[in-house]
């Protein structure tokens, strides 16, 4: 399977050049969330970002989404500098971020309306993308009638419907049960293999990173820096229990554990242990 996207697909590279983020507040000293980092992501690559909580993964994602400006450095999508949120940079959040007052179809069509797509085409494209996530029959439902897994499928359909050039996913499956999660991982992979969007995917699951990504990046504890940049060269569908899969997991864990150790509770954990 070739990693090169087909010519007519909308997918772009991401260049992160010396991006650093420092949060300042009046109440306390400046906090460096992200050390200046450099990262080149070719178009069509699926990158997983893994690291301890607070390592700056989500901060980096928010810079790429245009939600927060970097303190230093430049980020480019294709040749364009990121300066503000752009519907061409799709974002999927852990908590779905759907509009509760709209039905499923209108949630998916929402971005298309902002892109100026006409009503009929909006509906057709929304339905087509709902079909990709197996929710075509739920188009008329209200959001509150859906389970968590279904809401996340709507959020994924919504992002793919606008045909963005990059997709940013902030721990999108973290709140889902194991079965739903497996199912959505599978669906996401199938869509990605078709569309070859450039994906940056934040996760705390090493297994998920190795299962989905073509490249895994381990970040250090705060302030975040790149500790490991590893291509995952396994054919899809990947087998969790295969020795080479486990070897990639171990490679990532070995790097990650050093960083996790730095975040251990210094007071330790006393008390009585037993199941």
């Amino acid at each position: 399977m070739s990693n090169a996207p087909e010519a007519d697909l909308n997918t772009k590279s991401i260049s992160i050049r010396n991006i650093g983020v420092t949060f300042k507040s009046e109440a306390s000293d400046a906090v460096e969330a992200l050390c200046p980092i450099d990262l080149e992501i070719p178009a069509g690559e699926f990158v997983a970002l893994v690291g301890p909580s607070g390592c700056g993964k989500s901060t980096l994602l928010n810079v790429l989404a245009g939600f927060i400006p970097p303190s230093v450095g430049t980020a480019l999508v294709g040749d364009d500098k990121i300066s503000k949120p752009d519907i061409d940079h799709g974002m999927v959040f852990q908590d779905y971020a759907l509009f509760p007052w709209l039905n499923v179809l209108d949630n998916v069509a929402f971005g298309l309306e902002r892109q100026g797509v006409g009503r009929d085409e909006r509906e057709a494209r929304a339905l087509e993308n709902l079909d990709l996530v197996g929710l075509k029959d739920f188009a008329g439902k209200r959001v509150h009638e859906l389970s968590g897994g279904m809401k996340q499928r709507v959020a994924i359909a919504r992002v793919f419907a606008t045909d963005p050039s990059i997709i940013l996913m902030d721990e999108p499956f973290g709140a889902l049960d194991a079965l739903t999660r497996r199912f959505l991982q599978h669906q996401l992979l199938a869509i990605w293999q078709r569309n070859r969007k450039t994906v940056v995917f934040v996760t705390h699951s090493v297994q998920e990173a190795v299962y989905l990504a073509s490249r895994a990046i381990v970040m250090t504890a705060r302030p975040g820096r790149i500790k490991l940049d590893q291509k995952i060269e396994l054919a899809h569908p990947r087998d969790f229990s295969a020795a080479d899969f486990r070897a990639y997991e171990k490679l990532i864990y070995d790097q990650l554990d050093e960083e996790l150790a730095k975040t251990f509770n210094l007071e330790g954990s006393g008390g009585t242990f037993r199941d």
């Binding site: 194991a178 996760t203 090493v206 954990s269 009585t272 037993r274």
Partner: protein
């Protein structure tokens, strides 16, 4: 017990009165007992009111039964936090399969009960209802304490090593862990798919039977004989069993003999005694890493050392090593099924009475093997020592849960 169900509601027959009574008693007991993580009076009253409004023909077999639910099972709208600060705000939108089934039958969720950390590690604040300086056991500690204190007639628990049988025995309750796979575990926190057992803790055999009939009807067909043959099993494990715990089993043996059953002695095969702990540990660690390894990455600082250790060891278990352990588990299960046959083995559920709080939550050794083998194991209160409950554990072969339940019923109230 009548076929129409059980009645545990207040004298005036209203669920609302039973709820008010529960709230009053829980209010007095909880400052010391600390069995619940959450009780929501308004919701409980509203649910009771709705049940009271049901016409008699629409009332379920558990109409008005107050059920406490361990925080590892999902209850819609409650905080079900798995005993860890990492999931402290976890609020599921759907009931676990077990909870949904029992509520549909008329049970009222009295509240959510304390579990140890991930039902595996750090103990919660709960104390023993018979002596607040002693442990209620673990991990279903809130559920056992709530039933043992008489606050609720039944509670849900889960066992992956000894988490139902041990606290139930320490708190003077009936504890039931059915055959592995008998109960739909959807909506419960996983530790290891191969050894997780949802189950119940109950105040008496009738309530237990009524609930089990709903949860696992396929296993509740009464056995052809009134009482199965009894196999008295010598403790085989490394942990030493107190004389009073062994004496309780001897007294139970006499009660059963008088009821007309045949009594034989059974000895655990050495190879099982030697390896059961290691096999279970391999399976469990693998499962913990699989299901909670992500929490370790996300929130290491909020995990106990012991849990971290499970995750790290579990990650290092290769697929081949795990498959070996599962094969060993199967060999142990088959051997024990054959040894027990159509009989029921009895032994102490614990190594003695509940230890003092600072001495931990007691030994898992007498419960562990039945979890690993997936055989139905149950405990019934049987006598006291120093004012603390003792129990008798009954184990049948896989699928013969009703036989063990018959033995529990025969011993109940005879200790």
């Amino acid at each position: 017990m009548t076929d129409g169900g059980i009645t545990a509601i207040a004298a005036d027959g209203s669920c609302l009165a039973a709820v008010e009574d529960f709230l009053g008693r829980a209010g007095r007991a909880e400052p010391t007992l600390r069995a619940f993580t959450e009780i929501r009076p308004d919701r409980l009253r509203a649910d009771a009111h709705a049940l009271d409004a049901l016409p008699t023909p629409k009332r379920g077999p558990l109409h008005g039964i107050l059920l406490a639910v361990k925080e590892v099972f999902d209850v819609a709208g409650y905080v079900c936090g798995w005993g860890t600060p990492i999931h402290a705000g976890r609020q599921p939108s759907q009931d676990a399969a077990m909870v949904a089934k029992l509520r549909a039958a008329g049970a009222l969720v009295a509240g959510i009960t304390v579990s140890t950390e991930y039902a595996l590690s750090l103990a919660g604040p709960t104390t023993n209802p018979f002596d607040s300086t002693r442990t209620p056991g673990a991990s279903s500690q809130g559920s056992a304490a709530a039933v043992g204190a008489g606050l609720v007639p039944a509670a849900l628990g889960s066992q992956t090593i000894g988490s139902i049988i041990r606290p139930a025995a320490y708190c003077g309750c009936i504890g039931v862990k059915l055959s592995w796979g008998a109960i739909d575990a959807a909506g419960s926190m996983p530790l290891s798919d191969a050894i997780d057992h949802p189950g119940i803790i109950a105040a008496d055999p009738d309530i237990a039977a009524a609930i089990l009939k709903l949860l696992a009807p396929q296993l509740m067909t009464p056995p052809a004989v009134k009482l199965p043959n009894i196999l008295v099993l010598e403790p085989w494990h490394e942990a030493e069993t107190a004389p009073e715990a062994l004496a309780a089993v001897e007294r139970a043996t006499r009660v059963l003999a008088e009821a007309g059953t045949s009594i034989q002695r059974m000895r655990m095969p050495d190879w099982i005694a030697t390896k059961e702990e290691r096999v279970l540990d391999t399976i469990l660690a693998f499962g913990v890493a699989k299901h909670h390894g992500e929490d370790y990455v996300r929130s290491t600082a909020h995990m106990s050392d012991r849990l971290r250790d499970y995750v790290v060891r579990g990650r290092a278990v290769s697929q081949a090593a795990y498959d070996d352990a599962i094969n060993e588990q199967d060999r142990i299960r088959q051997t024990l099924n054959a040894e027990i046959g159509d009989g029921v083995a009895i032994m102490p559920p614990t190594t003695g009475i509940a230890p003092k709080l600072d001495a931990g939550t007691g030994s898992r050794a007498p419960q562990r093997l039945w979890t690993l083998a997936g055989l139905p194991a149950m405990t019934v209160p049987f006598g006291r020592h120093l004012g603390m409950p003792l129990g008798v554990q009954a184990v049948a072969r896989h699928g013969q849960d009703a036989r063990a339940l018959a033995v529990i019923g025969a011993l109940y109230g005879k200790g």
